[in-house]
Symmetry: C2
Subunit: 594 residues, 2 copies
């Protein structure tokens, strides 16, 4: 046959075309041999159409079809005909017709595939990733990547409409001591020096603002050399946005509109805006998390005042040590769970730092039963039941410790119960802004204050004077966008005055010289008419994951890394030649030292 | 003033708005103090409008304006008024009006800038790059990056309309021995192993084809650790395209349409398609280059047959050693150039490998004069003049050597004369496809054959049998797109059969085990129904450079690297901490060895 291209995609073959000659190219999905006649489902990226080989049409084509196996690549010419009534398949758009093949070329063969192209059942992720070129051929995966494509275009269209400029920033950048661990790239030209792959284009987008670009965006790859979890990858894609002369309210409403457009596109869903807002303080106290899943209640209950005078030392000691006592009501679980199951909860809580897990059941008489019941007096019993809305059959769980531990433990228990008890409305999309983050926190390991977001985040005006004296009490102009318990991204208004930026570096323990060495170019930039500016960065992979309804980032990244940051397909990372080590002026470090 | 946003951009202030109150935010461009009244040109990214401070309106605002200097960031509220007739400025769209300021806030100050924001005259590139945040603020630079933005969107729209899927590929990939030098990224988790930053997503886009994506594109960052020139950067952006079931003709015509759309957009120019095509062989012989600038003629002339029996040993020795003799006619330069200038051409030619540069002048009697005239007999004189179209006053230059040297020397001389003699039509856009590249060439250093494009390039069908016996005679299904002497990009049809791919690796000197170690996953992929496929990659930076009419890639990259791959702004690359060396299991290599 000639080199000419296909005339149609498979799913374009309809009843209107009966009698027409078509040329199709695609993959053999299944072959059925019915005596003299062979049927093949031909699949291309559009869908499926049945092709049929009949000895009366072309004996040679039939004989070629006889050797075709699943996933062979075929080029066929034939005539569209109506299917016999009894073979009509209403499940596919081409189900009323088939193509009677007049000529066939096998463009390529296929070995039997290690798993079926039709479903993912019973295939381990390792096998899928090692054969990603086949895994991605499955229609379900193609749907995910088409969704990703559409989301990507929609985001760009949205921002283009608002006159944002898409601009590129470098990947070979400078390593800075703040934040997560950098991936480093040794320099051949500059001996024993390194580039860093960007954790985000933060400084460059701020420089764009200094340059007067005013509105910038980029859908950009970022890198973090951190230990991985299901919702982390060493390289990830970020919708990176920065704007001058735009306050947080404007940025919030723009971001909300963008998310609404995406949900309209992917789910034909009208989500209501504006999104609710909650301060960091409130989120931690009510949900034990700065990215609460607000699709269900089961909030944490403050009990410190109620139990402050109790005889239960676990409670009172915690309070004496500046801690808090909070509780969680697992509705109905007092009846439902065995003693063993309740004890197992303590092991779960221990993962999050709990030294134990106190609990009480509410019995039929609405009184509290359990190991610690005896330490509380009647009034305390009543107050606890009231505060926690306790009803017969409920299981009340308590955490008493420093704030952070109480939040972590009860926050994790809340999510566990939410999932296991089916409290979560799976189809819902609950967006939430978490605002008013602290600017810095004290890091015990380094004995210094470190930024919660990054050192360029703006403190709120009324707290600036506390930067030196009480830095932990300073609130930042920072915000996170949360969806269904996932942090979609975050941002802030930035510091645009060189003096305030220097003050911030001092708060973080830099002396003037260190600050200049690391960030001299930024302070320079701020001193030449930097406009007020701020922005946000949203995780593209997470957005796709949540809109695709899958629960793992590896499902929405074409060639993802495993938990040990390896690529099962190509074998990266890998050893390199002596010559390459030499050109980079590097030696392997020996265990015994440098 | 309140936190509310601007009401208009500067260039939106027109006569229609006279009497209206507006709020503007932007940069003070110039301040003129006319006695009691102060005029400031306010600039934002849209353009400029004049604002005026009058003591009768607001004394305090006037006093603030008095302290404003160039590049201060201002927030002003005022009323649009008509300018006095004599102050109308027809050069700007807002030239008939001005804004009478009622209230002003200085949002940020600026030190005096190291160079003016208005023009680039007399600013060294080092100063510009060290202060890139100011350099980019200049309207001319903003225009370039808006053009880049529009090109980027137009390319995506074009490909989206043709149902290409935009898909992302990894940046942390596997180092392979083929091609240019990789940038490497040491792994913390996998001791003494490295990732490589991609030189292109070549293998991944082929895997997308195996996965049945059929049409893929990505505007993607790529990396090469090579020594830099004006038209090379260590990181560059590529329009990466791959398609299944699409032959070269279809790909050519699609690419032509895309380039035509870009020129229509940027220059409102209708370029004619299809673009001319020329084989590699023809391009080398006619222009001494595989990326000829076809905006001017001055082609190389083949003289081997004419001088084969001459008495000039430089010619005859070259021909005996399998070389060639070619000439170049520098019209009118025999008269125009001094003996010294002609001798200097030999030094120039030496850069490109010439051992000398023979030359002759055509004098008024149409006879040849010059040092080598005596070695040629009358017939040879006449034949040379005829072949080279020699006229009185011309300078004829000759190169005799192995083919490669002759091409390089005369190709370089041709370009030099083309520029210096003003032969090049600067405003023209001459596209050209160069086709039929050799598949491999012999590399003396390694004693092996190496790919001209890459090892996945398809040989033409009729040459496959020569892969083992005469690999240098095999033509590849490969093509480059050339514009005005710049290689915009290139591509090929790929090998889709595992056996042919293995054959190709053998031709390149791999044994079976080496091929499997490096490219096992590719051969695996090809054995599961890989479709025929091919693609192209176009240099985005070069396209923007040529459409913006600038002559350096650094003008179209926001934060470019210098010739030594450094970033003058941030100081990357830079030393990193002992802790970072340790985590990556690396030591600095000592001069004395490993």
């Amino acid at each position: 046959m000639s080199e000419l291209g296909r005339s149609h995609y498979c799913n374009e073959i309809t009843e209107d075309m009966i009698g027409q000659e078509v040329r199709l190219k695609g993959w053999a999905r299944t072959r059925r041999d019915l005596g003299q006649v062979i049927f093949i489902d031909l699949r291309d990226r559009s869908g499926i159409v049945q092709i049929v080989f009949n000895p009366e049409i072309n004996e040679e084509a039939l004989s070629i079809a006889n050797d075709v196996r699943n996933e062979f690549v075929l080029d066929v010419i034939g005539k569209v005909v109506r299917r016999d009534e009894e073979t009509i398949n209403d499940k596919i758009t081409t189900g009323k017709v088939e193509v009677q093949v007049e000529d066939i070329t096998v463009l390529n063969k296929s070995k039997p595939t290690p798993f079926s192209m039709e479903e993912s059942a019973n295939v381990s992720e390792d096998v899928r990733l090692s054969n990603r070129f086949l895994d991605l051929r499955r229609p379900k995966m193609q749907e995910i990547f088409w969704l990703r494509h559409r989301i990507t275009q929609e985001v760009r269209n949205f921002l283009n409409e608002r006159s944002f400029m898409e601009a590129e920033t470098p990947m070979l950048t400078k390593s800075t001591p703040e934040g997560a661990r950098d991936y480093l790239v040794p320099s051949r030209v500059h001996e024993h020096e390194f580039y860093a792959l960007p954790q985000s284009p933060q400084l460059f987008k701020q420089l764009f603002m200094v340059a007067g670009f005013e509105r910038y965006y980029q859908i950009v790859r970022c890198f973090r050399d951190e230990d991985l979890r299901a919702d982390r990858q060493p390289e990830f894609t970020q919708i990176d946005i920065e704007a001058s002369f735009m306050d947080s309210d404007e940025l919030f409403s723009m971001t909300e509109e963008m998310m609404a457009r995406l949900l309209k596109m992917s789910h034909n869903l009208d989500i209501s805006t504006p999104f609710p807002r909650m301060t960091y303080h409130e989120a931690m106290h009510r949900y034990g998390s700065d990215k609460p899943d607000t699709r269900f209640g089961m909030e944490l209950v403050e009990l410190s005042d109620i139990v402050v005078n109790s005889n239960f030392q676990v409670f009172t000691k915690a309070l004496e040590n500046n801690g808090i006592v909070k509780g969680l009501n697992a509705k109905g679980q007092g009846d439902a769970m065995s003693r063993k199951e309740i004890d197992d909860l303590a092991d779960f809580a221990a993962i999050y730092g709990a030294k134990g897990l106190a609990w009480l059941k509410v019995d039929e008489e609405r009184t509290l039963k359990g190991p610690i019941a005896k330490f509380l007096d009647d009034e305390e019993h009543e107050n606890v039941i009231q505060a926690m809305d306790g009803e017969s059959g409920d299981l009340l769980l308590f955490a008493a410790d420093v704030q952070e531990v109480v939040f972590d433990v009860l926050g994790a228990l809340r999510l566990k119960f939410g999932k296991e008890l089916g409290l979560i409305e799976e189809e819902a999309f609950h967006f939430l802004w978490v605002t008013d983050f602290p600017l810095v926190e004290y890091d015990k390991d380094s004995g210094r204050h470190v930024s919660l977001h990054h050192p360029f985040t703006r403190p709120v005006a009324e707290d600036v004077e506390k930067l030196e004296s009480e830095p932990e009490d300073v609130t930042a102009h920072a915000y996170d966008l949360v969806l269904n318990g996932y942090e979609l991204g975050g941002g802030s208004q930035r510091i645009h005055e060189p003096e305030l930026q220097m003050q911030m570096f001092r708060t973080l323990g830099f002396n003037e010289q260190e600050a200049k060495e690391q960030f001299g170019f930024l302070m320079d930039a701020l001193s030449y008419g930097a406009p007020p500016h701020g922005g946000i960065a949203l995780g593209m992979d997470r957005i796709v994951m949540l809109l695709a309804g899958v629960d793992n980032l590896r499902e929405v990244i074409a060639f993802p890394k495993t938990a040990s940051a390896g690529d099962l397909l190509t074998g990266a990372p890998s050893p390199v030649s002596q010559e390459q080590w030499k050109e980079l002026h590097l030696s392997p470090r020996q265990q015994s030292g440098r």
